[in-house]
Amino acid sequence: MRFTFTPAQDAFRAEVRGFLRSEMEAGTFSPRCGDLFQTGSREFSRKMAERGWIGMTWPREHGGQGRPYVDKAILMEELFRVQAPIGYHFLADRQVGPALIHFGSKQQKEFFLPRIVRADEGVSFCLLFSEPNAGSDLAGVATTALRDGDEYIVNGQKVWTSRAHVADFGWLLARTDPDPSANRYRSVSEFIVDMKSPGITVRPIVNMAGESNFNEVFFEDVRVPAASLVGEENAGFKQIMAQMDYERAGLERLMQNYPLFEQLKQHVRDMDPSETPETLRAWARDQVAQLEIEYSVGRLLCYYTAWTIDQGKTPTAQAAMCKAFCTRYEQKVNDVASQILGPVCQIRRGDPWSPLRGDLAESLLWGPSYTLQGGSVEVLKNIVALRGLGLPRK
């Protein structure tokens, strides 16, 4: 038992922090709440790649560093703390790589893994999962990929696809057994699709924050080589569920509005007793302490999940618990911060009167999405009950 980091881990954290500090001083980015996964540049990713910070947990034979998930968690915590612009490689690093390592063909591994790890040009990914009628219910996708000789022909529509307009490849989930009587959990497959393929149309969706951070993607007779199938045909649902465990456990579910929380604490520290009603100060003190408690709990839960993976276990229920817990905390931060700041919480970034560097208003805009991404809280709790506690389904 050791509830703290090793000196090597402390040194690693310091190294990451130093790198980020110098990037911020050079004006590469500044810590601001908003869309954590959208912002990014290949340039920034390349610098991280140089330091071995992409594919860190992957085995060495796949170009990774073979380092534990706890080390990766330290890296991610530091990145999220300042909301570093990691969008170019984030999804490939978190999801695509591990999935390929588990399920990919030799050629897929050899082509993609080294390129992702180096943050080469042309290997940015988007995830083509959700559909208008299949959000959390991935077994219900209607987009079809039908075998035609050496190719699959894809038709259908995806939605809520972050970065589809800039990504080079899409990680596609599609129905390969279109028979309506087929077992829905054994009739979908995963593919890697070149986003420049003829027949793909990307249309941005403007979100409530007024940004087009995600897209609709239309497929019209898009031809995909059979070699782009990942893993087994019709085994896509099983494969993707395994991937989700890793998606859900990350600190990104705790720290989407981390800079806001830091500023809120500072704001409460700085509140002038002569200008602040005593009632507000007492309330703010109690509430911010509760947030700090929940943050500490969530952080420990994230590291615990990383450690569990390092023990060679699949953290299904734990990861679901982690995400359900952490995203609720994030929404509470928004609520408490707005009540402490009052009406000015509405003033958006850019205006001189926007409080907490504009992070409050932006976080309020993004708040509703926290508990939706990667499985709604409801679905996550079902997973905890069914997989973790063994409760009956029927």
Binding site: S130, W160, D335, W353, L372
Partner: protein, 376 residues
């Protein structure tokens, strides 16, 4: 106890529901928000024609003579429609402040024109930190010469200042005639007044005012010197309850929208609305709505009768704040990603919920007022 609406009030409510459904469907809300004015002159004129701009005013000026409950249901319907307009700041706050504070001549000049929809006023209630500071304004009025003052300070979140003929604000006056919080009616065209449009969550047109020794004539003082706080105190309970009404309307629409969506949307092979978790979430929303309606209407009725309602008003706002917030949170959760898109109405309501939660006091403030009433 009689929880039913009177006939007269019911008629206003039904008329308003129909009027806004026709005049201001959600697509129109977006269009209006995108205009320079931020409101529809056409709708404004029609509202004037229906007599809605003078509900709180004396009949002598063309008003309805304090039709408090009618105003309550009208504002509720506005909240439901999310009508972008200067109604709250002009026809609720400003015309009522004028009614309470101004002398006869100013009332005669202003109120009939306001009620006919010919002019708009706005009220600047918040200081540079966004606090309602009528008791002890962070805005200074120094005597410049015998008939002039100079205003210095900042006002935030002043709605529709760009289309208002006058801005009501309360300044801490230090002068030969007296001192204390004093109400002024500032001409937006006054030299030296800097008006900065603010970009906010709701996209409602709203402004920061920067005043650095902005000159204002003594005849622009409204009412008596030193009584600004008192005038505001007279209208604050009502304004708070009307804000609750606005929230009620929004909440009702959110519940409707969400219940309809979960009935129709299928997931995992059956309607979303057949899941027990969805049943419970919808039951929670319905409870929020029903209880918020009861508690806000109670406060409105007491005020309409001139009965004491400090505790009930604080209870209503504290409760509506949390109820509306819960409803929009559940609404978003049940709508999923679709509710997070610009083209969906859901987020218009969640921004409205946040903005109105903050107006006239967040929940901690009203809990503390309830505690005062309990003597604890």
């Amino acid at each position: 106890m009689d929880f039913g609406l009177d006939e007269q009030t019911s008629i206003v409510k039904d008329t308003a529901r129909r009027f806004f459904r026709e005049q201001c469907p959600p697509s129109r809300v977006r269009e209006i928000l995108a205009t320079e004015e931020g409101y529809s002159k056409d709708i404004w004129r029609k509202m004037a024609g229906l007599g809605w701009l003078g509900l709180l005013n004396n009949e002598a000026y063309g008003g309805a003579g304090g039709a408090f409950l009618e105003m309550f249901v009208l504002v509720e319907e506005m909240g439901r429609a999310l009508l972008p307009s200067p109604f709250f700041t002009s026809a609720v706050l400003s015309s009522w402040l004028i009614e309470e504070a101004a002398g006869q001549p100013r009332k005669e000049t202003l109120l009939p024109r306001m009620i006919r929809g010919e002019t708009i006023l706005t009220a600047a209630l918040l200081d540079h930190q966004g606090r309602d500071d009528f008791e002890d304004p962070a805005l200074d009025a120094h005597q410049a010469d015998s008939s002039r003052y100079e205003l210095t300070g900042t006002r935030l979140l002043v709605p529709f200042a760009h289309v208002a003929e006058g801005i009501l604000l309360c300044a801490k006056l230090q002068g030969r005639e007296g001192h204390g919080p004093t109400l002024f009616l500032l001409d937006p065209a006054t030299e030296g007044l800097e008006m900065v449009p603010l970009n906010t969550l709701t996209k409602e047109k709203t402004f920061a005012l920067r005043l650095d020794r902005v000159g204002i004539d003594a005849d622009r003082i409204v009412g008596d010197i030193g009584k600004g706080g008192i005038y505001m105190d007279r209208i604050r309970p009502g304004a708070t309850v009307f804000k609750c009404a606005e929230m009620l309307g929004g909440m009702e629409r959110v519940v409707e929208m969400t219940v309809a969506y979960v009935k129709e949307r299928h997931q995992f092979g059956r309607p979303l609305g057949a899941l027990q978790a969805v049943h419970h979430a919808c039951a929670d929303m319905a409870t929020c709505l029903e209880t918020a309606r009861l508690i806000a209407t109670q406060a409105a009725w007491l005020l309409s009768q001139g009965l004491p309602a400090d505790k009930e008003t604080a209870t209503a706002k504290a409760w509506c704040n949390e109820a509306y917030k819960n409803c929009t949170a559940i609404g978003h959760q049940l709508h999923g990603a679709i509710g997070f898109t610009e083209e969906h109405d859901m987020h218009l309501y969640s921004q409205h919920a946040k903005a109105s939660e903050m107006a006239f006091g967040a929940s901690w403030f009203h809990r503390s007022r309830v505690a005062d009433q309990l003597g604890i």
